[in-house]
């Protein structure tokens, strides 16, 4: 582990003051700091997720030349709160044939899987909860809980639509995990480590140092990653598990009220996480576009803003894609994954490895401008 939030904060003076307040109990202080920040991040992400629904509706309306939600709050911006309230107050219906235990468990697993990924998301160079040495690997691993939850949601409902959606969803998620993993592997190879700190430290400075522009293979890897991530989060044009014209609503057909809400929340947060990871891996994350040596809290906040801007830009692209492209057929979905993305990703991996050996790990920019 390179660095945690607490170890980052401990270099400031106010940490010692706080330590005094907590009676020199470092563990308890760490617990408090983590708890506060965890709650803040969950709150932030829940808001982003909620705003995601709003943004989705607004952007789709924009694309389709409609107005979209405009009643609740200014420009309808509080629409997501209204939705939330509605979900809580809806009646909780469960099919009598359902497997009740799994029916409850499925959304919870989705929520756990998505929330757990937030621990390693690099908001800035300092504001990262735990910069695990296996960071990106951990993120991929724990987010596969979502696949299980999709399958369980489909299974537990004991409805034919749900079952089909669940099976499709699970096989789609696991299939697209392969190109995503291999693309991430390429970046791991270039960065020489799996932790976000290591990955970001290689992308400091001007945008030319981003891994996106490191070499041609990494450039392709970004698109492979992005397409795979779209499919992994069940976003259009890969939203077959919840294809409304085919499967009613897919694996959450039978879910109502609060549980449906959690599924939706998990999905939107996951989209944000995936975009954030894409920004961190390929677009330099929270790194400012110039080299700066001082490290103060306000600068960290600037970094957070940069990171959010990049992630939300990708988020916008995701929504844009959704309302632009038609949905794929299921056989096209599988052949895109296995016959195009995976071979391309493997090719990229090999290309990156060869690049590493041939050019001693230098990027195109280094070669052209003679850096490092």
């Amino acid at each position: 582990m390179n660095q945690t939030l607490v170890s980052y904060l401990s270099q400031y003076e106010f940490y010692d003051i706080l330590l005094g307040l907590f009676g020199k109990n470092e563990g308890f202080l760490a617990f408090t700091i983590y708890l506060l920040f965890t709650l803040a991040i969950v709150g932030l992400c829940a808001t982003i997720g909620g705003l995601g629904t709003y943004a989705e509706r607004k952007i789709s309306a924009d694309i389709q030349q409609r107005v979209g939600p405009n009643r609740v709050g200014p420009y309808g911006i509080l629409q997501f709160l209204a939705d939330g309230v509605k979900m809580i107050t809806k009646e909780d219906v469960m099919p009598f044939t359902a497997d009740k235990f799994l029916f409850y468990l499925a959304p919870m697993l989705a929520l756990i899987g998505v929330f757990a990924t937030l621990a390693v998301l690099p908001w800035s160079s300092g504001f990262i909860m735990a910069d695990l040495n296996v960071g990106i690997f951990y993120l991929i691993a724990i987010s596969s809980l979502v696949g299980v939850s999709v399958f369980l949601g489909g299974y537990a409902s004991n409805s034919k639509w749900s079952m089909l959606g669940g099976l499709r969803g699970a096989s789609q998620i696991i299939s697209y995990e392969i190109p995503v993993t291999i693309s991430v592997l390429s970046i791991t190879l270039l960065a020489g480590g799996m932790s976000f700190g290591t990955i970001l430290s290689h992308q400091q400075g001007t945008p030319i140092n981003w891994f996106l522009f490191h070499n041609p293979f990494a450039f392709i890897a970004f698109f492979v990653y992005f397409i795979g991530a779209l499919a992994e989060t069940n976003r259009a044009p890969f939203d077959l598990p919840e294809a409304e014209s085919e499967l009613v609503s897919g694996y959450h057909t039978e879910y109502t009220g609060m549980r449906f809400g959690f599924f939706a929340l998990a999905e939107y947060i996951e989209v944000f996480v995936v975009c954030g990871v894409g920004a961190a891996l390929f677009l330099g994350g929270g790194n400012l576009p110039f080299n700066i040596s001082i490290d103060i809290i306000p600068l960290q906040l600037v970094q957070v803003t940069v990171f959010m801007a990049k992630a939300l830009l990708l988020y916008y692209v995701v929504i844009w894609v959704r309302w632009t492209f038609p949905r794929l057929r299921v056989d096209q979905l599988m052949s895109i994954c296995w016959k195009y993305l995976t071979p391309i990703a493997i090719f990229n991996l090999v290309g990156n490895a060869v690049w590493m050996v041939m050019f001693n790990g230098k990027s195109i920019a280094d070669l052209v401008f003679g850096g490092h």
Binding site: F101, V134, S144, G147
Partner: protein, 177 residues
Amino acid sequence: MFAQVLFLMSAFLTIGCAIAVMVTKNIMHSCIFLLGSLIGVAGLYATLGADFVAVTQIMVYVGGIVILMLFAVMLTGGKDFVSRAQNLLGLAPAMGNKWTYGTGLFVGAVFLLTNVSLLMNVSKAYPVKNFGNEFPSTVSAIGKLLVKEHVLAFELSSVLLLGALVGAAIIARPRKQ
């Protein structure tokens, strides 16, 4: 402090879910409890400082094996076998009866008893060490070991996996009736 908490949580998750796997009627629930148990084991790995193995455990088991098992359960008839099980008088769990459980528990107890003395010896030989709060990274060391000393095993594992893939694909592929 946190290490102990994590250890306790993981241990209880592991053991509780393992027991649940043992006693649950429904095979689907068993799979999910297995998932819990495996995540618990991953937590135990984390307390042992094996971060890479822990994440691998999650990656392979949660992302792969459990989903594969769920698929397999669905392909072999979903919940149908619950009704077809030898559910003796409705008392013993599915797909097993009093006798099988009795035998199983008996053999388990015998094995436990034989191993207790072994455990005693071990606990005498290796007293509790306090590693404190440290959490060393194992990734690069494992990477170097895989490239240097265990390179043959590394390459052979890919052959093993290739064999498993081909073999399983041949076995599972639908055939002419």
